[in-house]
């Protein structure tokens, strides 16, 4: 550079650029829009724009009877339908003062834990995809998830939108050939996690892209109502399966994997370890489950007494709860969904500011949101 060029560079005016990311963008995992202001590659400001997948689920629930609403819950977080079913039927059961028979509860926990593994596989696979490890890690995860979906198909005939659970239990008992298939899966899954971790957990590229990125403190996370693996990655031992055991979780032995710094790496690591714990929980369920009925008699047109219920449970993404208000009729008077994906986005702006464009997709992926649940 000669002198005149240097003078020119000093007086050159640069402006921040605002661009739209989404709603149609592969790394938003659905239809989500971010208005991002960049200075070069650096993120200066972020404005999330919601609502592209808003279907009015809460309003639709007011027009359907309690049993029909189960099919709506499948379509909230569509990679963990079983857990949505469970949260909804537990609220209904509290409203009606019903308890599912023990075998039904065990089947629900088995389904929910398998679903948690499937959901974490999706989260991890897409996180690696966002990091630029194109294709292979995602396909490995999808391959294992496929085995879980096969198990769900045996349970209820559906793979994604299961609607397996009912108020008072589950829709049907597991078929005979389900148990050997489940046993084979449980034997294979830890080996897969080992293999995956061997490839990734100490991979230098993964470490340098995720360590210290998007640090979140425990105080900030709690104050912003962030729950699930993102909260546990900050080191807070808060899991509703432990804190408020529902169904048969009080009989299960498992530990809560906790992160230290709350960065992207810790979120990845917590999910990997949670999959191992879930395998353990399903094994314990298999050992403990006894023959018996899977469902109490609850009329299809279920009329709970006047009242309200809110039963929060630990979904794969955090605290999920249905706040149901009954006026004694056949439909909920109000069905409010407390969705973890939506509320975990509270600090999105703070998590992204100051990072580079390439980190933005990674940080966003590490929160693990599902647009069906964000927009409802």
């Amino acid at each position: 550079m000669d002198k005149s060029d240097q003078e020119k560079a000093a007086t050159l005016r640069t402006e921040p650029v605002t661009i739209n990311m989404g709603p149609q963008h592969p790394s938003t995992h659905g239809v989500f829009r971010l208005r991002v202001t960049f200075d070069g590659e650096m993120v200066l400001d972020v404005e999330p724009v919601f609502g592209y997948l808003h279907r009015g689920t809460e309003k639709l629930a007011e027009e359907r009877n309690y049993t029909q609403v189960i099919t709506l819950t499948d379509r909230l977080d569509y990679v963990s339908s079983m857990i949505n079913n469970q949260a909804y039927v537990l609220s209904c059961e509290k409203l009606g003062g019903i308890e599912a028979p023990e075998r039904g509860q065990y089947l629900r926990v088995i389904a929910a834990e398998l679903q948690r593994i499937a959901s974490h596989l999706v989260a991890t696979g897409f996180l690696l995809q966002d990091l630029g490890a194109f294709g292979t890690p995602l396909m490995y995860c999808m391959r294992e998830r496929e085995r879980i979906l096969d198990l769900f198909e045996m349970l209820c005939g559906a793979r994604i939108t299961n609607s397996y659970m009912r108020v008072g239990g589950v829709f049907q008992d597991a078929p005979e050939d389900f148990w050997p298939a489940l046993r084979r899966f449980l034997e294979a899954m830890p080996r897969f996690i080992d293999e995956y971790e061997h490839l990734l957990t100490s991979n230098e590229i993964l470490l340098s892209r995720t360590r210290g990125v998007s640090l979140l403190s425990a105080e900030d996370a709690i104050n912003a109502s962030i729950s699930g693996p993102v909260l546990r990655a900050t080191g807070v031992a808060w899991d509703l399966r432990k804190a408020a055991p529902y169904e048969v979780y009080d009989r299960m032995a498992f530990v809560l994997p906790l992160g230290k710094s709350g960065d992207v790496y810790d979120r990845y690591w917590v999910r990997m370890q949670e999959m191992r714990q879930s395998v353990g929980i399903v094994q314990q369920c298999m050992a403990q489950i006894q023959p018996g009925p899977v469902r109490t008699t609850v009329p299809l047109i279920f009329r709970p007494p006047v009242g309200e219920a809110y039963v929060p449970i630990e979904a794969s993404k955090g605290e999920l709860g249905f706040y149901l208000v009954s006026d004694g009729g056949i439909s909920p008077y109000r069905c409010k969904i407390r969705s973890p994906s939506f509320i975990n986005l509270t600090l999105l702006r703070e998590m992204l500011i100051g990072y580079k464009l390439a980190d933005l997709v990674v940080i966003f992926g590490s929160i693990d949101i599902n647009m069906g649940e964000v927009d409802r």
Partner: protein
């Protein structure tokens, strides 16, 4: 196991701290004056043996003659829960103070309540529609939306 703080206990302590704020209570919940919400919530979060540090959810229910705001509070420190409610009368412009200054977790939830139920939160830093677009007529979760 998460313990539910009894409505009666909470009501008594709130009465002592802020006379005249409690409207009524039952076993599981307390109704407070809506204009005192920020004081009450701030106190619930600060008091060491209550320490409601985690705002689980904010819901709004349309009971035709009034709107009800429902705050599900959780204390991660003590592993207990409580339900605090506030009734808002008048359908034209129901309003309540924003609790964003106490729990940032209210930011998106209050926007959602405003968008879908039409309750204004005074003091919210960015109260605009979230699920629907600006200019959408009405608030669809109200029972009288499109004639009910």
């Amino acid at each position: 196991m998460t313990r539910l703080v009894a409505g009666g206990d909470l009501a008594r302590r709130l009465q002592d701290a802020f006379p005249g704020t409690v409207e009524s209570w039952d076993d599981s919940q307390v109704w407070v004056q809506p204009d005192r919400l920020v004081e009450v919530c701030g106190w619930l979060r600060q008091t060491p043996d209550l320490a409601f540090d985690f705002l689980s959810s904010i819901s709004a229910v349309d009971y035709i003659e009034h709107f009800e705001l429902v705050y599900h509070l959780t204390s991660i420190r003590h592993n207990h829960r409580a339900v605090v409610k506030a009734r808002l009368y008048g359908r034209e412009r129901p309003a309540a103070p924003s609790v964003v200054s106490i729990w940032r977790g209210a930011t998106l939830q209050e926007r959602e309540v405003w968008d879908l139920m039409g309750v204004t939160f005074e003091g919210h830093p960015n109260l605009k529609r979230i699920m629907l677009w600006e200019g959408f007529p009405g608030h669809p979760h109200r029972k009288d939306h499109l004639g009910g």
